[in-house]
Protein backbone atom coordinates (compact mmCIF):
# COMPACT_ATOMS: atom_id res chain seq x y z
CA UNK A 1 0.00 0.00 0.00
CA UNK A 2 1.39 3.40 -1.03
CA UNK A 3 0.69 6.46 1.09
CA UNK A 4 1.10 10.18 0.56
CA UNK A 5 0.32 13.01 2.93
CA UNK A 6 -0.82 16.61 2.95
CA UNK A 7 -0.74 19.00 5.85
CA UNK A 8 -3.45 21.46 6.84
CA UNK A 9 -2.09 24.26 8.98
CA UNK A 10 -3.09 27.71 10.20
CA UNK A 11 -3.72 29.72 13.36
CA UNK A 12 -5.92 28.70 16.26
CA UNK A 13 -9.57 28.24 15.27
CA UNK A 14 -8.94 28.72 11.53
CA UNK A 15 -11.03 25.61 10.74
CA UNK A 16 -8.36 22.95 10.15
CA UNK A 17 -10.18 20.15 11.99
CA UNK A 18 -13.45 20.95 10.20
CA UNK A 19 -11.65 20.98 6.86
CA UNK A 20 -10.30 17.46 7.35
CA UNK A 21 -13.60 16.25 8.82
CA UNK A 22 -15.44 17.35 5.65
CA UNK A 23 -13.57 14.97 3.34
CA UNK A 24 -12.11 12.25 5.54
CA UNK A 25 -13.66 8.82 5.08
CA UNK A 26 -12.88 7.95 8.68
CA UNK A 27 -13.90 9.87 11.75
CA UNK A 28 -11.08 12.33 12.19
CA UNK A 29 -8.63 11.11 14.78
CA UNK A 30 -8.43 14.26 16.78
CA UNK A 31 -6.35 15.15 19.80
CA UNK A 32 -8.66 17.86 21.04
CA UNK A 33 -8.54 19.03 24.64
CA UNK A 34 -10.78 21.45 26.50
CA UNK A 35 -9.40 24.99 26.42
CA UNK A 36 -8.32 26.49 29.73
CA UNK A 37 -7.45 30.02 28.56
CA UNK A 38 -10.38 32.42 29.02
CA UNK A 39 -9.51 34.40 25.87
CA UNK A 40 -9.32 31.30 23.69
CA UNK A 41 -12.40 29.78 25.32
CA UNK A 42 -14.38 32.73 24.02
CA UNK A 43 -13.57 31.49 20.50
CA UNK A 44 -14.17 27.75 20.97
CA UNK A 45 -14.41 25.09 23.67
CA UNK A 46 -11.76 22.58 22.56
CA UNK A 47 -8.61 22.74 20.45
CA UNK A 48 -6.16 20.38 18.72
CA UNK A 49 -3.07 19.80 20.83
CA UNK A 50 -1.02 17.32 18.79
CA UNK A 51 -2.64 16.73 15.41
CA UNK A 52 -5.75 15.77 13.50
CA UNK A 53 -5.65 12.81 11.21
CA UNK A 54 -7.94 12.05 8.27
CA UNK A 55 -7.79 9.55 5.42
CA UNK A 56 -8.96 9.32 1.82
CA UNK A 57 -8.51 5.96 0.10
CA UNK A 58 -7.69 6.57 -3.56
CA UNK A 59 -7.74 2.93 -4.72
CA UNK A 60 -6.50 -0.48 -3.60
CA UNK A 61 -2.94 0.69 -3.72
CA UNK A 62 -2.94 4.35 -2.68
CA UNK A 63 -4.07 6.28 0.39
CA UNK A 64 -3.94 10.02 1.05
CA UNK A 65 -3.45 11.06 4.67
CA UNK A 66 -4.45 14.51 5.84
CA UNK A 67 -2.70 15.87 8.91
CA UNK A 68 -3.98 18.93 10.73
CA UNK A 69 -1.49 20.82 12.87
CA UNK A 70 -2.24 22.32 16.27
CA UNK A 71 -2.96 26.03 15.87
CA UNK A 72 -1.67 27.29 19.19
CA UNK A 73 1.92 28.44 19.09
CA UNK A 74 2.90 26.54 22.20
CA UNK A 75 2.40 23.29 20.28
CA UNK A 76 4.52 24.39 17.32
CA UNK A 77 7.15 21.72 18.07
CA UNK A 78 4.67 19.37 16.29
CA UNK A 79 4.76 21.37 13.06
CA UNK A 80 8.14 20.24 11.80
CA UNK A 81 7.40 16.61 12.65
CA UNK A 82 4.10 16.74 10.78
CA UNK A 83 5.62 18.50 7.78
CA UNK A 84 8.12 15.72 7.09
CA UNK A 85 7.47 14.10 3.72
CA UNK A 86 4.41 16.18 2.87
CA UNK A 87 3.30 16.44 -0.74
CA UNK A 88 2.03 19.95 -0.15
CA UNK A 89 0.31 22.05 2.48
CA UNK A 90 -2.74 24.20 2.97
CA UNK A 91 -2.72 27.30 5.17
CA UNK A 92 -6.17 27.99 6.58
CA UNK A 93 -7.00 31.56 7.56
CA UNK A 94 -10.14 32.63 9.43
CA UNK A 95 -11.60 35.40 7.23
CA UNK A 96 -13.53 36.84 10.17
CA UNK A 97 -10.55 37.26 12.53
CA UNK A 98 -8.06 39.77 11.09
CA UNK A 99 -6.15 39.62 14.37
CA UNK A 100 -4.92 36.16 13.26
CA UNK A 101 -3.65 37.24 9.82
CA UNK A 102 -0.19 38.11 11.08
CA UNK A 103 0.14 34.71 12.72
CA UNK A 104 -1.12 33.00 9.55
CA UNK A 105 1.61 34.77 7.62
CA UNK A 106 4.16 33.63 10.18
CA UNK A 107 2.96 30.01 9.99
CA UNK A 108 3.13 30.16 6.19
CA UNK A 109 6.75 31.38 6.34
CA UNK A 110 7.64 28.70 8.87
CA UNK A 111 6.27 25.91 6.67
CA UNK A 112 7.95 27.38 3.59
CA UNK A 113 11.21 27.17 5.48
CA UNK A 114 10.59 23.51 6.38
CA UNK A 115 10.07 22.28 2.83
CA UNK A 116 9.97 23.67 -0.71
CA UNK A 117 6.65 21.95 -1.46
CA UNK A 118 3.67 23.59 -3.17
CA UNK A 119 1.00 25.21 -1.01
CA UNK A 120 -2.27 27.08 -1.23
CA UNK A 121 -3.86 29.52 1.19
CA UNK A 122 -7.57 29.11 2.03
CA UNK A 123 -9.69 32.04 3.20
CA UNK A 124 -12.02 30.08 5.45
CA UNK A 125 -15.45 31.09 6.85
CA UNK A 126 -16.28 33.03 3.69
CA UNK A 127 -19.96 32.26 4.38
CA UNK A 128 -19.91 34.43 7.51
CA UNK A 129 -21.32 37.93 7.21
CA UNK A 130 -18.25 39.62 8.73
CA UNK A 131 -15.77 37.74 6.54
CA UNK A 132 -13.13 39.88 4.85
CA UNK A 133 -13.07 40.02 1.06
CA UNK A 134 -10.39 37.62 -0.29
CA UNK A 135 -8.74 40.46 -2.20
CA UNK A 136 -8.39 42.54 0.98
CA UNK A 137 -7.08 39.48 2.79
CA UNK A 138 -4.49 38.89 0.09
CA UNK A 139 -3.12 42.39 0.71
CA UNK A 140 -3.26 42.01 4.49
CA UNK A 141 -1.43 38.69 4.26
CA UNK A 142 1.04 40.18 1.74
CA UNK A 143 0.54 37.25 -0.61
CA UNK A 144 2.17 37.37 -4.01
CA UNK A 145 -0.26 37.18 -6.92
CA UNK A 146 1.34 33.87 -7.89
CA UNK A 147 0.19 32.28 -4.62
CA UNK A 148 -3.18 30.55 -4.92
CA UNK A 149 -5.49 32.24 -2.43
CA UNK A 150 -8.88 30.54 -2.45
CA UNK A 151 -12.22 31.25 -0.76
CA UNK A 152 -13.28 28.38 1.46
CA UNK A 153 -16.01 27.10 3.75
CA UNK A 154 -14.44 24.23 5.67
CA UNK A 155 -17.80 22.66 6.54
CA UNK A 156 -18.76 22.47 2.86
CA UNK A 157 -17.38 19.37 1.16
CA UNK A 158 -17.32 20.87 -2.36
CA UNK A 159 -15.38 23.86 -1.11
CA UNK A 160 -12.82 21.62 0.61
CA UNK A 161 -12.56 19.46 -2.53
CA UNK A 162 -11.78 22.58 -4.55
CA UNK A 163 -8.93 23.52 -2.21
CA UNK A 164 -7.44 20.03 -2.36
CA UNK A 165 -7.74 19.95 -6.14
CA UNK A 166 -6.07 23.34 -6.52
CA UNK A 167 -3.18 22.12 -4.38
CA UNK A 168 -2.88 18.96 -6.49
CA UNK A 169 -2.92 21.03 -9.71
CA UNK A 170 -0.07 23.12 -8.24
CA UNK A 171 1.88 19.96 -7.40
CA UNK A 172 1.36 18.64 -10.93
CA UNK A 173 2.32 21.98 -12.49
CA UNK A 174 5.50 22.11 -10.45
CA UNK A 175 6.43 18.59 -11.50
CA UNK A 176 5.91 19.52 -15.13
CA UNK A 177 7.88 22.77 -14.74
CA UNK A 178 10.69 20.82 -13.11
CA UNK A 179 10.99 18.66 -16.21
CA UNK A 180 11.44 21.64 -18.54
Amino acid sequence: MQTVKMVVTGPFSAGKTEFIRSVSEIDVVSTERRISSVAEKAVKEATTVAMDFGRITVDDDLVLYLFGTPGQKRFDFMWEILSEGMLGFIVMVDSTRPETFREARSILETFRAYAPTPYVVAANKQDMKDAWEPEDMRHALRLDLKVKFLPCVATDKSSVKNILLELLYSILAEMENGEK
Binding site: Q2, T3, V4, V23, I56, T57, V58, D59, L62, L64, S83, E84, G85, M86, L87, R102, E103, R105, S106, E109, T110, R112, A113, Y114, A115, P116, T117, R142, D144, K157, K161, L164, L165, L168, Y169, I171, L172, M175, E176, E179
Partner: protein, 271 residues
Protein backbone atom coordinates in the same frame (compact mmCIF):
# COMPACT_ATOMS: atom_id res chain seq x y z
CA UNK B 1 22.13 29.80 48.19
CA UNK B 2 23.87 30.61 44.93
CA UNK B 3 21.92 32.55 42.38
CA UNK B 4 21.86 30.18 39.43
CA UNK B 5 19.27 28.74 37.11
CA UNK B 6 17.79 28.62 33.62
CA UNK B 7 16.56 31.60 31.60
CA UNK B 8 13.42 29.67 30.77
CA UNK B 9 12.45 29.72 34.44
CA UNK B 10 13.91 33.09 35.38
CA UNK B 11 14.15 35.70 32.63
CA UNK B 12 16.79 38.38 32.14
CA UNK B 13 14.22 41.00 33.16
CA UNK B 14 13.60 39.20 36.45
CA UNK B 15 17.34 38.79 37.02
CA UNK B 16 18.11 42.46 36.44
CA UNK B 17 15.22 43.45 38.67
CA UNK B 18 16.57 41.28 41.45
CA UNK B 19 20.12 42.64 41.07
CA UNK B 20 18.75 46.17 41.07
CA UNK B 21 16.51 45.76 44.11
CA UNK B 22 19.05 43.77 46.13
CA UNK B 23 21.79 46.23 45.08
CA UNK B 24 24.05 43.30 44.32
CA UNK B 25 27.75 43.46 43.57
CA UNK B 26 29.30 40.75 41.42
CA UNK B 27 29.28 39.25 37.95
CA UNK B 28 26.34 37.65 36.19
CA UNK B 29 27.47 34.92 33.79
CA UNK B 30 24.91 33.92 31.14
CA UNK B 31 25.61 30.96 28.89
CA UNK B 32 23.44 31.68 25.87
CA UNK B 33 22.69 29.51 22.84
CA UNK B 34 25.98 30.26 21.08
CA UNK B 35 28.01 32.53 23.35
CA UNK B 36 28.58 33.49 26.95
CA UNK B 37 28.09 36.94 28.42
CA UNK B 38 29.61 38.33 31.60
CA UNK B 39 27.98 41.37 33.11
CA UNK B 40 29.36 43.02 36.21
CA UNK B 41 27.38 45.09 38.70
CA UNK B 42 28.39 47.28 41.61
CA UNK B 43 25.71 48.07 44.20
CA UNK B 44 22.99 47.09 41.73
CA UNK B 45 24.34 49.29 38.94
CA UNK B 46 25.79 48.10 35.64
CA UNK B 47 29.55 48.53 35.62
CA UNK B 48 30.97 46.34 32.84
CA UNK B 49 29.90 43.78 30.22
CA UNK B 50 31.47 41.49 27.67
CA UNK B 51 30.25 38.81 25.29
CA UNK B 52 32.35 35.89 24.13
CA UNK B 53 36.07 35.69 24.61
CA UNK B 54 36.91 39.18 23.41
CA UNK B 55 37.37 41.22 26.56
CA UNK B 56 35.69 44.61 26.37
CA UNK B 57 38.93 46.59 26.38
CA UNK B 58 38.78 50.33 25.70
CA UNK B 59 40.56 49.97 22.34
CA UNK B 60 38.22 47.15 21.31
CA UNK B 61 35.12 49.20 22.23
CA UNK B 62 36.34 52.35 20.47
CA UNK B 63 37.04 50.26 17.39
CA UNK B 64 33.61 48.56 17.57
CA UNK B 65 31.89 51.93 17.92
CA UNK B 66 33.83 53.28 14.93
CA UNK B 67 35.65 55.90 17.01
CA UNK B 68 38.97 54.58 15.77
CA UNK B 69 39.82 52.89 12.49
CA UNK B 70 41.07 49.31 12.11
CA UNK B 71 44.59 50.65 11.47
CA UNK B 72 44.51 52.78 14.60
CA UNK B 73 43.16 49.84 16.59
CA UNK B 74 46.03 47.62 15.40
CA UNK B 75 48.58 50.33 16.20
CA UNK B 76 47.14 50.79 19.70
CA UNK B 77 47.17 47.04 20.25
CA UNK B 78 50.80 46.79 19.18
CA UNK B 79 51.96 49.76 21.20
CA UNK B 80 49.81 49.49 24.25
CA UNK B 81 48.91 45.86 24.76
CA UNK B 82 50.50 46.15 28.17
CA UNK B 83 48.96 49.53 28.99
CA UNK B 84 45.87 49.40 31.21
CA UNK B 85 42.66 50.90 29.83
CA UNK B 86 42.75 53.75 32.33
CA UNK B 87 46.20 54.78 31.11
CA UNK B 88 45.18 54.45 27.48
CA UNK B 89 42.14 56.62 28.19
CA UNK B 90 44.37 59.29 29.71
CA UNK B 91 46.70 59.13 26.72
CA UNK B 92 43.80 59.66 24.30
CA UNK B 93 42.46 62.56 26.37
CA UNK B 94 45.89 64.20 26.70
CA UNK B 95 46.49 63.81 22.98
CA UNK B 96 43.25 65.71 22.41
CA UNK B 97 41.86 62.74 20.53
CA UNK B 98 38.84 62.26 22.77
CA UNK B 99 37.25 63.80 25.84
CA UNK B 100 36.53 61.94 29.06
CA UNK B 101 32.78 62.24 28.29
CA UNK B 102 33.34 60.67 24.86
CA UNK B 103 35.10 57.70 26.37
CA UNK B 104 32.52 57.17 29.11
CA UNK B 105 29.54 57.52 26.80
CA UNK B 106 31.06 54.99 24.37
CA UNK B 107 31.64 52.52 27.18
CA UNK B 108 28.10 53.04 28.54
CA UNK B 109 26.59 52.55 25.10
CA UNK B 110 28.63 49.41 24.46
CA UNK B 111 27.78 47.83 27.82
CA UNK B 112 24.10 48.80 27.48
CA UNK B 113 23.96 47.20 24.02
CA UNK B 114 25.30 43.94 25.45
CA UNK B 115 22.66 43.95 28.18
CA UNK B 116 19.94 44.73 25.59
CA UNK B 117 21.10 41.75 23.56
CA UNK B 118 20.60 39.54 26.58
CA UNK B 119 16.89 40.33 26.54
CA UNK B 120 16.58 38.31 23.32
CA UNK B 121 18.10 35.24 24.98
CA UNK B 122 15.32 32.96 26.13
CA UNK B 123 17.37 29.80 26.50
CA UNK B 124 20.50 29.38 28.58
CA UNK B 125 21.99 28.91 32.02
CA UNK B 126 23.02 31.70 34.36
CA UNK B 127 24.86 32.10 37.63
CA UNK B 128 25.79 35.11 39.70
CA UNK B 129 29.25 35.29 41.26
CA UNK B 130 29.12 37.50 44.31
CA UNK B 131 31.83 40.14 44.68
CA UNK B 132 33.65 39.19 41.48
CA UNK B 133 34.31 42.32 39.45
CA UNK B 134 36.18 43.03 36.20
CA UNK B 135 39.97 43.46 36.40
CA UNK B 136 41.18 46.71 37.97
CA UNK B 137 42.71 47.96 34.72
CA UNK B 138 39.31 48.14 33.01
CA UNK B 139 37.29 51.34 33.09
CA UNK B 140 33.94 50.62 34.70
CA UNK B 141 30.79 52.72 34.54
CA UNK B 142 27.79 53.18 36.84
CA UNK B 143 24.53 52.82 34.97
CA UNK B 144 21.10 52.62 36.60
CA UNK B 145 19.29 49.45 35.61
CA UNK B 146 15.73 50.81 35.58
CA UNK B 147 15.99 52.37 32.11
CA UNK B 148 17.74 49.31 30.74
CA UNK B 149 14.97 47.07 32.08
CA UNK B 150 12.21 49.25 30.60
CA UNK B 151 13.97 49.49 27.24
CA UNK B 152 14.77 45.77 27.32
CA UNK B 153 11.15 44.83 28.00
CA UNK B 154 10.08 47.04 25.13
CA UNK B 155 12.63 45.36 22.87
CA UNK B 156 11.53 41.94 24.05
CA UNK B 157 7.97 42.64 22.90
CA UNK B 158 9.29 43.94 19.60
CA UNK B 159 11.53 40.89 19.32
CA UNK B 160 8.58 38.54 19.83
CA UNK B 161 6.58 40.37 17.18
CA UNK B 162 9.46 40.35 14.72
CA UNK B 163 10.06 36.66 15.31
CA UNK B 164 6.43 36.04 14.42
CA UNK B 165 6.79 38.05 11.23
CA UNK B 166 10.16 36.63 10.20
CA UNK B 167 10.39 33.20 11.87
CA UNK B 168 13.46 32.02 9.96
CA UNK B 169 16.62 33.96 9.12
CA UNK B 170 17.65 31.16 6.78
CA UNK B 171 15.25 32.38 4.10
CA UNK B 172 16.32 34.84 1.39
CA UNK B 173 14.82 38.08 0.09
CA UNK B 174 13.86 39.19 -3.37
CA UNK B 175 12.53 42.48 -4.68
CA UNK B 176 8.82 42.42 -5.41
CA UNK B 177 8.03 42.97 -9.04
CA UNK B 178 5.33 45.52 -8.39
CA UNK B 179 4.95 47.91 -11.29
CA UNK B 180 5.62 51.52 -10.37
CA UNK B 181 7.70 50.93 -7.28
CA UNK B 182 11.09 52.52 -7.58
CA UNK B 183 13.59 52.33 -4.75
CA UNK B 184 15.11 55.66 -5.76
CA UNK B 185 11.87 57.42 -4.90
CA UNK B 186 11.73 55.96 -1.42
CA UNK B 187 13.51 57.47 1.58
CA UNK B 188 15.64 54.74 3.06
CA UNK B 189 18.05 55.08 5.98
CA UNK B 190 21.74 54.26 5.62
CA UNK B 191 21.18 50.91 7.37
CA UNK B 192 18.27 50.08 5.04
CA UNK B 193 20.38 50.89 1.98
CA UNK B 194 23.13 48.63 3.30
CA UNK B 195 20.64 45.78 3.60
CA UNK B 196 19.07 46.57 0.22
CA UNK B 197 22.48 46.32 -1.45
CA UNK B 198 22.73 42.68 -0.37
CA UNK B 199 19.19 41.62 -1.36
CA UNK B 200 19.48 38.70 -3.70
CA UNK B 201 17.75 35.31 -3.63
CA UNK B 202 21.20 33.76 -3.12
CA UNK B 203 21.77 35.54 0.23
CA UNK B 204 19.94 34.43 3.36
CA UNK B 205 18.74 37.08 5.82
CA UNK B 206 21.28 35.70 8.30
CA UNK B 207 24.09 36.23 5.76
CA UNK B 208 22.90 39.79 5.08
CA UNK B 209 22.86 40.47 8.83
CA UNK B 210 26.37 39.13 9.15
CA UNK B 211 27.67 41.11 6.14
CA UNK B 212 26.15 44.34 7.44
CA UNK B 213 27.27 43.61 11.03
CA UNK B 214 23.71 43.68 12.36
CA UNK B 215 22.42 41.47 15.13
CA UNK B 216 19.27 39.36 14.75
CA UNK B 217 17.02 42.08 16.13
CA UNK B 218 18.46 44.81 13.91
CA UNK B 219 18.28 42.81 10.68
CA UNK B 220 14.77 41.57 11.50
CA UNK B 221 13.68 45.17 12.17
CA UNK B 222 14.94 46.40 8.80
CA UNK B 223 13.62 43.42 6.84
CA UNK B 224 10.24 43.87 8.55
CA UNK B 225 10.13 47.51 7.41
CA UNK B 226 10.99 46.55 3.83
CA UNK B 227 8.37 43.77 3.89
CA UNK B 228 5.70 46.11 5.25
CA UNK B 229 6.49 48.66 2.56
CA UNK B 230 5.96 45.91 -0.01
CA UNK B 231 9.47 46.36 -1.41
CA UNK B 232 10.70 42.84 -0.79
CA UNK B 233 9.35 39.37 -0.39
CA UNK B 234 10.70 36.35 1.46
CA UNK B 235 11.79 33.44 -0.72
CA UNK B 236 13.77 30.22 -0.40
CA UNK B 237 17.47 30.80 -0.98
CA UNK B 238 18.59 29.92 -4.50
CA UNK B 239 20.93 26.99 -4.76
CA UNK B 240 20.29 25.95 -1.17
CA UNK B 241 20.13 22.23 -0.65
CA UNK B 242 16.56 21.20 0.12
CA UNK B 243 16.17 21.15 3.89
CA UNK B 244 13.89 18.18 3.72
CA UNK B 245 15.42 14.98 2.47
CA UNK B 246 12.43 12.90 3.51
CA UNK B 247 10.75 11.05 0.66
CA UNK B 248 7.53 12.70 -0.46
CA UNK B 249 6.44 10.16 -3.08
CA UNK B 250 6.47 6.40 -2.59
CA UNK B 251 8.23 6.08 -5.96
CA UNK B 252 11.31 7.73 -7.50
CA UNK B 253 10.01 7.45 -11.07
CA UNK B 254 8.82 10.86 -12.32
CA UNK B 255 6.14 9.42 -14.61
CA UNK B 256 4.78 7.24 -11.82
CA UNK B 257 4.72 10.27 -9.54
CA UNK B 258 2.65 12.19 -12.08
CA UNK B 259 0.28 9.25 -12.48
CA UNK B 260 -0.06 9.12 -8.72
CA UNK B 261 -1.02 12.81 -8.54
CA UNK B 262 -3.53 12.30 -11.36
CA UNK B 263 -5.04 9.38 -9.44
CA UNK B 264 -5.37 11.64 -6.41
CA UNK B 265 -7.05 14.31 -8.56
CA UNK B 266 -9.56 11.81 -9.95
CA UNK B 267 -10.35 10.52 -6.49
CA UNK B 268 -10.87 13.97 -4.97
CA UNK B 269 -13.12 14.94 -7.89
CA UNK B 270 -15.25 11.88 -7.25
CA UNK B 271 -15.76 12.58 -3.55
Amino acid sequence: MALRGNLRDFTITQLLNLINLAQKTGTLVVEGPSETAQVAFRDGKLSYAQVGQSASSLAFILHKTNKISSGQYKAIQQRSSQIPDKELGLMLINAGYMTQEDILSNLQQFFSDIVQRLFTWVEGLFHFENDILPPEDRISVRLDLENLIIEGSRQMREWEQLQDEIPSLDMALKFTDRPGSNLRNINLSVEEWRVVSYINPRNTIRQIGSATKMNDLEIRRIVYGLLQAGLVDICRPEGAAPIQQVRVFPTEDKEEQKTLVNRLISRIRSL
